[in-house]
C-alpha cells in the first residue's frame, strides 16, 4: 500500500467525518426548523463523502478493515482531521463561522482534487465539490446576515471569527506525505489553496462587516495526529459508543 495515499485519504475522510458528526449534533435543537433541516442535510452530505473517502482508504490500506472500522474503531491519535472541525459547536454563530471557513477551503481543495491523477480521488472530488459549493453559498449567506445583523449577532460573529482564526492555518500546512502526493499529481499543493480561500474569506467578511484578525499564528497537530485537542476524545465517546459497547452490532 502507499502510506502517503492512505494518510491523505484519512485526512480527507476524517475532516468530513468529524465535521459531519459535529454538525449533526444540532439535529433537533437548531434555532429554527429551516436551520435544523439545513444543518442535518449538510451533515448527511459530509458523512456520505466520508463513506467514499474512507472506503477508498480501507482498500488502499489492504488490511481487511472497512470504512466503518476506520470510523468507529480508531482512537483519537489515529484521526487525521484538522483541529478546527473537532472544536465543540458552541453557539449557532460559531458553528456557521466554522462551516464557512471550512466550506471555502473545502471547495478550493475539492476543485483541485477533481483534476487528480488518481482517477478514484478525482471522481469522489468531482461528486463532492458540487455539494461543497452549495454548502458554501449557504454558510457565506448566513455569516453575512449575522455579521451585518444586530449589534448582538455582529458581536457574536466577531468573537467566533477571532476564536477560529488561529485554527485556519492548519488547512494549508503540509508535510512529507503531502509533498509525495503533490509530486505524484494526486493532490494540489496545500499552500497553493490559500489565495483562493483568502479571496473568498476577505470578500465575505467585508460584506459581513467583520474584521479579519491580524495574526498568522496557527494551532497544528490534527492532520498529523500529533496532538488533537481534548474535544475529539469526548466526541468519539459519543460517536463510537455503540460499536465500542456492542462490537460488530448491525441492524
Amino acid at each position: 500500500m502507499s502510506a502517503a495515499l492512505f494518510e491523505t485519504l484519512l485526512r480527507l475522510g476524517d475532516n468530513t467525518l468529524v465535521l459531519g458528526h459535529r454538525v449533526s449534533e444540532w439535529c433537533g435543537k437548531a434555532p429554527v426548523l429551516e436551520e435544523d433541516i439545513a444543518l442535518a442535510n449538510t451533515a448527511l452530505d459530509l458523512i456520505g463523502q466520508t463513506q467514499m473517502w474512507l472506503s477508498y482508504a480501507a482498500e488502499v490500506e489492504g488490511a481487511g478493515r472497512s470504512a466503518d472500522d476506520l470510523a468507529m474503531l480508531r482512537d483519537v491519535w489515529d484521526f487525521r482531521n484538522i483541529l478546527m472541525v473537532e472544536r465543540p459547536n458552541l453557539d449557532f454563530g460559531h458553528t456557521m463561522m466554522r462551516q464557512f471557513l471550512f466550506d471555502a477551503y473545502h471547495r478550493a481543495l475539492l476543485s483541485g482534487l477533481a483534476g487528480s491523477g488518481d482517477p478514484r480521488v478525482a471522481e469522489i472530488a468531482a461528486k463532492a465539490v458540487k455539494e461543497a459549493t452549495y454548502h458554501l453559498d449557504r454558510s457565506a449567506e448566513t455569516v453575512i446576515a449575522l455579521g451585518d445583523g444586530t449589534e448582538v449577532s455582529h458581536a457574536k460573529m466577531q468573537t467566533a471569527l477571532d476564536l477560529l482564526w488561529p485554527y485556519t492555518g492548519e488547512m494549508f500546512h503540509s508535510d512529507e506525505a503531502d509533498a509525495e502526493m503533490v509530486a505524484a499529481g494526486v493532490i494540489p499543493d496545500p499552500e497553493g489553496l490559500r489565495p483562493a480561500w483568502m479571496d473568498t474569506v476577505t470578500a465575505t467578511m467585508a460584506e459581513a462587516t467583520l474584521t479579519l484578525p491580524d495574526s498568522n499564528f496557527a494551532h497544528k497537530g490534527g492532520r498529523t495526529g500529533k496532538q488533537h485537542t481534548e474535544h475529539l476524545g469526548h466526541m468519539l465517546t459519543q460517536m463510537q459508543w455503540l460499536q465500542r459497547a456492542y462490537p460488530d452490532a448491525t441492524w
Partner: protein
C-alpha cells in the same frame, strides 16, 4: 433461462418508484446509468443523487427486488460515481410529473419559474434546504402555499 432484452428491463425499472418522491421512477430521476448483460448476470449501474442521500440503499433494494420479481436471479448492482449525477438527467416526463405532484422541477435559472399550485411567478425562497437533500423550500406570494423546489445540481 431466456435473457430479456435490455430495453424491456429499462421498462421494468421505469416502474420502480423513487422511495422519497414516488410519482417519479428511478429511471425518471436519471440515476440508472447502465443496464447490461454480462453472461448470465444482469449488471445495473446506479449513481447516487447526493453523497449522503439516505435513500440510496433503499433504491438498491427496490431495484433488486423488482428485477427478482421478474424472475431475474443473477443481478449485480454497481455504484457508478462518475460522471456525477446532475438534475439535467431528470427526464421530461419526470419533470412534468413532479410539477403535477406539487414540486417545482429544476430550472436553469436557479429557482422555480412558477408556483406548482397556482402558476403565479411571484415566489420566494424560504431555505436552500427542504424536506430531502435534493429539494429547497420555497413559498408562493400569490396563493401563500409553501412548496418544494427540486434544486439544480
Amino acid at each position: 433461462m431466456v435473457r430479456p432484452d435490455v430495453q424491456t428491463i429499462w421498462g421494468w425499472l421505469d416502474e420502480v418508484p423513487d422511495p422519497e418522491i414516488p410519482v417519479i421512477s428511478v429511471v425518471d430521476l436519471g440515476i440508472i446509468r447502465d443496464v447490461a448483460w454480462d453472461g448470465d448476470t444482469l449488471e445495473v449501474a446506479i449513481t447516487p443523487t447526493y453523497s449522503g442521500c439516505p435513500a440510496t440503499s433503499i433504491i438498491n433494494l427496490d431495484v433488486e427486488t423488482a428485477l427478482r420479481d421478474r424472475g431475474l436471479d443473477n443481478v449485480r448492482l454497481k455504484q457508478q460515481l462518475s460522471p456525477p449525477w446532475t438534475t439535467d438527467w431528470l427526464s421530461a416526463k419526470g419533470a412534468a410529473k413532479l410539477e403535477n405532484y406539487g414540486i417545482a422541477p429544476p430550472s436553469p435559472a436557479g429557482g422555480p419559474s412558477k408556483c406548482p399550485r397556482c402558476g403565479s411567478g411571484d415566489v420566494e425562497r424560504v431555505s436552500q434546504f427542504g424536506s430531502t437533500p435534493c429539494k429547497a423550500h420555497w413559498r408562493c406570494l400569490s396563493c401563500l402555499e409553501p412548496f418544494d423546489y427540486f434544486k439544480c445540481i
